[in-house]
Every structure is written in structure tokens, then in C-alpha cells.
């Protein structure tokens, strides 16, 4: 027989207690905001680490997803697999989507090719190459990633930049930067960057505020199993729309007056301060190859991104600044023929990647020889 007294529960009390507990848990989560829960990962333990950082707009097909939890992203990468030994020489390749390797399988990206090609040692150590490229153009975004992998003590950072990644006023608008205000503020402080600290809204750190990030961290673990089983981390389309070769009569660039690109339009200081922030790491700064079109109005524009005046101005400013500060700077802007670009003015075909890898390998070899 049922005990009615026992079952006679006040609905009001149940509801009030549930709501209070829910609110309490949410606020408790705010106090735990500095705990890097993204570092709890199955990658490199149960699932092999990824060859490149997670990114994917069609997760069910690419077994990958775009997310903003930097800890989880780095934890899923093979760089966080194990500690470096005395015999290892770690090279980080960093940059935008062309370095990440759009439309290229991991083994055909610049990093993948370098891993296969490099058969020499550096300072008597075995070379390991890691792809830390990520599909958005911002050197501040690159700094956030580099800062996260600092504990993995890179020996050499090969940093691919371009004009788009250096536009100063757009550095804070990149989703990965915008969605990591706590890390951003720490980086701004530690590297003494000339950007205002991001406003922290504590409500963003409740369970409700973090639910998308939490779900993404869990989803990343699930997709890891499929990545491990298939080696797929991107949709590789057989057909794609080729990068634009013909252009309108358009001189405009980012609301900057024609021929008026100045050094302070560019976030060169971010690159300089990053290099200073890694005193035990060598840096190689490379201006990445771009598509140089021969199509309509190509006398005005190199490609979809750049009018000639802006890009030429950028090359001239960057060259002089980096030479003045004695940084290892190399300009590969016209290294790859126009035919070896895929769906954008920076994404390369397999042959394009090969050309870039050959040249980069030579630079690394030269650097290693110099160091020896």
C-alpha cells in the first residue's frame, strides 16, 4: 500500500529548491571560470592527437568542428601528447587557413610535407614539425595560440603572415580572439600589447553562458573517435569555385586612403612583442604566397583581397621594420604560380604546397646549419 504521507510532497518547495539550486550552481561556475576544463581531453590518451587544430563547419561530414575553447583545441592537438625530450627540436608552423591546409589532407599541408621531407637534424636534435595554423587571418590570434603552446617549448616558430593578418583595427574582431576574453586580457597584459582589455561579462561564465563551449568540448571528444578511425578532419570537395581572377575597377582597401597605408595600420608590434616574449625560441617570419592574377583589372588588384597599392605598401613597410629590428624575415609573396591556387588567393594546390615546402625546408636547413 502506498504511503500517502511520504508521497505528499509540496510542489512549491520542490520547484523553489530546484530553481535555487540551479541558480547557485550557475554562480558557482562563475568562480570556477579560471579552471581550464578544456584541458580534460581524451585526445592523446584514448584518441590520437589531431594533426591540426579543430576547425570545421560541417561536423557530421568532416568529423571536426569550429570552436573557441583554446584549451580544448590545444589539448586535442598532437603537440600536447607528451613532454619534449632533450633530443627533440620542435618547429611550429603557424599562420592562417593556408597553413592549416584548406582542401588539403593533413599529409599534404605544408607541415605534412615538411615532416616527410626533413631528413636532417637541427643542432644534433631530431626535428618535429607541428601545424598550428588556424583558419582566420590575425597575428593576435596566432599569438593566443603560441602563448597556449608555450609550455611545449618550441625551438623554432615559422610564422606565415600576410597583409590581411596584420590589419591592426581588425585584430580584436576575430572570433577566436573575441571569444576568449580572459586569455586575451592576460596576453595583452603579459606581452604589453597596445589594445584595450576586453570587458568581462560574468554572466557569460555561468553554466548557461558556457553551455555552447561545454557542448563543443564534449562534441570534440566524440568527433575524435571518427577522426581516429578515418583520418578525415575536413571535407575535401572534388570541385570548388576557383579563386577570383577578374576584378572590378576597385582600388579600395579597408577604408584606407589609396597609397596611404601607414605602419600604424599594421599590427607589426604584435609580431615584435611575440618574438620578445619567447626569448628561447627562434622565429622565422614569412610573408605567405599570394595569387597574382593576370585577369581583368589585374593591373589594379593582385587578387580578391589586395589592390596593388596596399599590398606593395605593406611589403615595403614590413620589410623595412623587420630588417631594422634584425628579425628573420622572408618574402615568399610571388613564390607560387597563379595556377597553383585553389578556392582563394592564399589556398594552395598540392603542387603549390610542395613548392612552398621546398623553399621553407631550405630556409630551415640554412637556419639549422647556421646554428650549428
Amino acid at each position: 500500500m502506498k504511503n500517502n504521507n511520504k508521497a505528499d510532497i509540496s510542489l512549491k518547495r520542490v520547484v523553489i529548491k530546484s530553481i535555487l539550486l540551479f541558480i547557485l550552481l550557475n554562480f558557482l561556475f562563475i568562480f570556477l571560470r579560471d579552471i581550464p576544463y578544456g584541458k580534460i581531453s581524451l585526445y592523446n590518451i584514448v584518441i590520437p592527437g589531431r594533426d591540426r587544430l579543430p576547425f570545421g563547419e560541417t561536423p557530421l561530414e568532416s568529423f571536426n568542428l569550429t570552436m573557441s575553447n583554446l584549451d580544448a583545441m590545444i589539448s586535442s592537438h598532437k603537440i600536447s601528447a607528451d613532454k619534449k625530450t632533450e633530443d627533440d627540436y620542435r618547429i611550429i608552423i603557424i599562420g592562417d587557413s593556408s597553413i592549416w591546409g584548406f582542401i588539403q589532407k593533413p599529409e599534404n599541408t605544408l607541415t605534412g610535407l615538411l615532416e616527410k621531407k626533413i631528413n636532417f637534424q637541427c643542432r644534433g636534435k631530431n626535428i618535429e614539425v607541428f601545424n598550428l595554423g588556424y583558419p582566420s587571418q590575425s597575428v593576435l590570434k596566432d599569438l593566443l595560440i603560441l602563448n597556449e603552446i608555450k609550455p611545449y617549448t618550441p625551438n623554432l616558430v615559422v610564422w606565415f603572415i600576410t597583409l590581411e593578418s596584420l590589419i591592426s583595427k581588425e585584430q580584436l574582431n576575430i572570433p577566436l580572439v573575441k571569444n576568449n576574453p580572459l586569455i586575451l586580457n592576460k596576453v595583452i597584459h603579459d606581452y604589453q600589447l597596445n589594445y584595450p582589455p576586453s570587458t568581462i561579462n560574468l554572466l557569460d561564465y555561468t553554466i548557461i553562458g558556457q553551455k555552447r563551449k561545454l557542448a563543443d568540448v564534449i562534441r570534440l571528444q566524440f568527433y575524435g573517435a571518427l577522426w581516429a578511425g578515418s583520418g578525415i578532419d575536413q571535407v575535401y570537395p572534388e570541385n570548388y569555385t576557383p579563386a577570383q581572377r577578374d576584378f572590378d575597377l576597385d582600388y579600395s582597401y579597408k577604408n584606407i586612403l589609396v597609397n596611404q597605408l601607414q605602419g600604424n595600420d599594421l599590427a607589426i608590434d604584435v609580431v615584435q612583442r611575440t618574438v620578445s616574449g619567447f626569448p628561447n625560441t627562434e622565429f622565422m617570419i614569412i610573408n605567405e604566397p599570394i595569387l597574382i592574377s593576370a585577369g581583368k583589372n589585374s593591373d589594379i588588384r593582385y587578387n580578391f583581397y589586395y589592390p596593388r597599392w596596399a599590398y606593395d605598401g605593406y611589403r615595403s613597410i614590413v620589410k623595412s621594420v623587420f630588417e631594422r629590428s634584425k628579425m628573420n624575415y622572408f618574402d615568399f609573396w610571388n613564390l607560387v604560380p597563379e595556377s597553383e591556387f585553389t578556392n582563394s588567393a592564399i589556398h594552395l594546390t598540392s603542387l603549390g604546397e610542395q613548392i612552398l615546402a621546398d623553399k621553407t625546408e631550405t630556409l630551415i636547413k640554412n637556419l639549422c646549419d647556421t646554428l650549428e
Binding site: K2, L11, G229, G231
Partner: protein, 472 residues
Amino acid sequence: MFLNQIIVAISILLFFRVFFWPKSKNWLLFVLSLIAIYYLQPSSAIRSLSFWFPTLILIISIIAWWLYAIQEKKLSKMDLISLVVILAFPFLFNLLKFIGLSEISFFSGTPKFLYLLLFSGLLILILFFFRKKTVNQSLVSIILISLVVSILVILKSQALSRYLSILLRQLSGQSITLSSADDIKWVGFSYFAFRLIHIIIDREGVGRLELSLRDFITYIVFFPAFTSGPIDRIERFNGELNKVEGNAINEDFVEGGSRIVRGIFQKFILADSLALISLNSHIAKSINKTGWMWLALYAYAFRIFFDFSGYTDIAIGIGKLAGINLPENFKRPYLSKNITIFWNNWHITLTQWFRTYYFNPVTRFIRSNNKNLSPAFIIFFTQITTMVLIGLWHGINWNYFVWGVWNGMGLFIHNRWSDKIKPKISFLQDKRLLIPINVISVVFTFNFTALGWVWFSLPSITESVLVFSKLF
């Protein structure tokens, strides 16, 4: 049901529990179920189809009630009110258009006023005709069963659904170039068919149920169980509907709440997460490592369990909030020691239905008409065909056919094993080995079932064979 629909249902029932319980319980469930069948019906590209599908369920139900359940073969005052409520719905939906609520999906499919009037008049005429005439109940039963089975076959066949789409598009003056099987999504029809066939066959030569129209319709379209079961028996359901209710907050209420929470966790967290890595066509082609393929298969096995069992928990939980105890549908099936126990614990009400209305009568029929046939052959035939029918109920496709054969064969082999071989193997009777034997049996049964899901989860035999080649 989607999460928002579940939350709406729970909110209404909670409101009712707090303010009106237990008065008007049956009326509330009747009206809620009527609303739900229109609300849950997805919109269709074919004009007014999202209105006519639920409406047809109601029309067939009213005819069935008149034939099998009407009290003393006359309309009581309550039945008249119920009929008016049912007929009022389409008109109400139509009127809502005038106050700007036509954007809400389930109102939008209502046909024009004139058609509604014609339909209502026709329905009243049919009922009037049945009232005056003494109908041949057996003949009408055969017609009704044939009708619902035929509709079921059309709904489960992509090709036939497409033909129906073409036909309906022609009738409504729409372009047939866009016709597709997706136009014909009749939510809840399978379970409606099961309930109706149960009533028709059980009532044959037995007499009427003597139920009010309100309670009969509530049984047929009871909203928590309308789309995915469980399939209750009408006598039991009627007992639940008319039992004496206690306090608004009682053990049923508390248990209902905990079942809903458990169900939501299983369905929307566990199942939806596992869905990311569950076996499907893309994963079948992409994964090329044995271990990870097994993982995708196990993920599918648990995903389908948590999805369905979770939904059943939600349905049972909402049922409890509504004062109705629905039958259980899953009892730890993956811990079954053999495939026979598995099928007694998986989708219990469906397998019971097929056992009652197909397996048992067919077995009896074959035994009494073919005395020379060996019992083993009869078991083989009935088990295979039962499981094939259950398979084809999911869709008329080769993959479901093979899945049915796979499970039918499993049931038959187990039947022979436990009847003929197991008793002769002495060490299997050793009680000291009971635990290891049970563990091995559970693992074997689970894996046999999981491998069966390969056929079920993939649309083509070729893909299933590819997966098997990667698994072994």
C-alpha cells in the same frame, strides 16, 4: 516529440494538477490529445494534408467506436458533446486564422470553410447511416483492417508514398514535378493502426466495449504515446482512465517526474551525443580501422536504445502526470542472456502485439491445417516471418528485410539450441559455471544484436556488407 513539445505538455499537466486535479481529467486528456495530433503532425508541401491526416485518424476512430465500442448503440449526451468537440476543432482552427494565428504551423493547414462544412456533413451522414442500418461487422472489420494495413504499406514504401504524393498533388492542383515521398509523413499512423487492429480483432464475435466516444478517442490518440508508443490494451487503458485519483502530488506524480528527467537525459543527452559517432552511411564509408568501426557500431546500438527507451520514459512519465500508467516498453534488453529474452525486453508492447495478432494465430493456423509439417519448420517459418514483418514495419526496404531475417534466424537457432542441444551438454548445467556462462551469454547476445543493427542502420545491403568487411 521535440523537447519544446514535451515541455509544453508537462507545463499544461502541471497547471492542471495544481489547479484542477482530479476533476475533468478525462476531458482534459481528450482535448489535449485532439490538439496534440494536429500539433505533432508536420506540415506538408501538399495543401491541407497536415490537416487531413489527423482528421482521417479521427474519422476512422469514430467509425470504429460506433462499430465496436458505442454504449447501447446510441449516442449519449457525453458522446454528442465529444463529437461536437471533434467537429469544432477544424472550424476553430479556421477561425483562428482571422485573429492572426494562422502562422502557427498546425493551424495553417486547415482547408477552406466550405470543404469543412462538406466534410462535417459527410461525417454526420455516415454516422446516421450506421445508426439506421445493421452492418455486417465482420465485413466492415475486414475493410477497416485492409484499409489501415494498405495505408501502412504505402507509408512505409518510398515508391508508393511518392505515387500517393503525385496523386494528391494532382487532386490539389499542385505541380507533380516536386512530388516526393517526404510529402507523405503521417505522424502516429503506425501506432494508431496497431491500436485499431487490436480493438477490431479482439472485439470480433465478443461484443462491444461499451466506452464513451471521449474515452475511446483518448485511448486511440493518447498524446504521450501517440507517436512512438507504448501500445497499450484498451481495457487496461480504460481502467487507468477511470480509476479513482488521489492527491495531485502523489507517488505517481513524483515517479512521473523522475521518469521524465531520466528520459530527457537518455534521449537528449546520451542518445544525441552518441548520434555524433553512430554508424551511418558516411561513417561506414569513412572509417577504415576495425576498432573504431566497432566503436561506431556500439555507439549506434546504445544510441538507438537510449533514444527509444528515453522516449518511452518520457511518454510513461507524462502519462503518470496525466494520471495514466502506460505499460513498460524496455526492460534492460542489452543484459539479456539470449535473443529470445532480448526480444521479450525490447519494444515489449510491439513484440507482444505481433505475437498476439500474427505469430500465435499463424502458428495455430499452420499447425491445425498442416499436421505433417515438422514443429521445427513451423517455428522457423513463423519466427522468420514475424521478425521480417517487424523489420518491414520500419520501412519496406531490403535492409529492414535482412534485419528481420537476421533476428528471426537468431530466434530460431536459439529455440533449437535451448530445446535440443543445450540440455545434452553437461557442463552447461553445472551451477558453478552459471555466472561465467551468463556473462558470456550476455556479451554474445549483445554482439549478435549489435551486428544486426548494421543491416538496420544503413540504407543498402552493399554498405552493410562493407561494414562487415571492416569489422572482421
